[in-house]
Amino acid sequence: MIEQLRPYIVTAWHGHRNDANVPEAVRTVWNWKFQGQRNSGRVRQSNVDIALINPKGQVIHAFDGFHPSTPESETLGQYTARELLKARPKLGRFNGPRGKRPLILPGLEEGERGIRVFVRLWEDRMVAYRAPVVEVVPQQAVDWKPLAWPAKERVVQASALKPWLSQIYPPGVMERTNPQTKFVYAIKSTEGELKLRSIKSGGNNRQAILSGVVSLTDEGPNDFNYQGRIEVLLTYEQGKSAPRTLRGYFDGLYPRWDPRHKETRWLSLQAAFESLPE
């Protein structure tokens, strides 16, 4: 599927039907979708559509991002690839890709420092939830101070690391969305007493480990929260207080409410952290 998408410029748009300035291409797709002109008779629809647009800006094909009537033997990738093939003859002549693009992850501006956070929810019922989230959080000099070289073992409050720890939440979990504003409930607190201790104090590659349990609470009702264990390896140059590099992980459990079976399912929620620039 990635190979078939290579010729395309890929972009995304989100919004509601009553929003001001809904783009023409989106109006075209939603007219097809909501007036039943596309896949008439279909009952279930997802909230994600994919539109293929020719170089002149005309929508030439559109399809539901999560086709509900796809045979179980067909993966989401195979289904998407099949729909992309349908569009190819209608696209006309266009310029092909110039070569294989390198993997370019979200990063920082030149000269900035920060932490990249990868998050994954191991949802076994919908594979789309397992797609990795990649967030980048810029860090100023003051943000590194809680992680300054530990000459003696000390406690670091997880609240001091909230800017990057608060990125540990799953993608697209609709029950954690404010029903009025439709915005996701942000993480309002990260709590826990983490231990920071040196493990190698000599030379130009001093090392310390930060470890403990972090509890994350979102701004939704009932103090919804979840926990996980964090371990981070920090390196320091000789004579410098701020960390030079940071690598680590979070391993926790996320309570997802299943309205159908009226029960909470505990899903593995994991994250990896790395400092930038690499």
């Binding site: 990635i2 972009t11 995304a12 748009w13 293929l52 990868f118 915005f183 190698k200």
Partner: protein
Amino acid sequence: MRLVITSLAVVFLTGVAFSENPSAKRVLAGYEALRPSAKDLAMYRLDWAESLDVALKRAIRENRPICLVIIFAKYGDMASGHC
């Protein structure tokens, strides 16, 4: 000669590996295990435009088609995946 150099290199690298702190090795192993692989991050090999407006202008200039992902939601960041 090549065998001697290779053997010395193996001995040296093994020594370095063994001198690493076991706690550090454990944390790095956890990080490596949980960091998504290049295959899992394949969407970042695509040619992303920051908005539909930018994509439409580029499509004309470069004579290329657009793949537009439309999300019926008030928020959504496809670049990060938190959507």
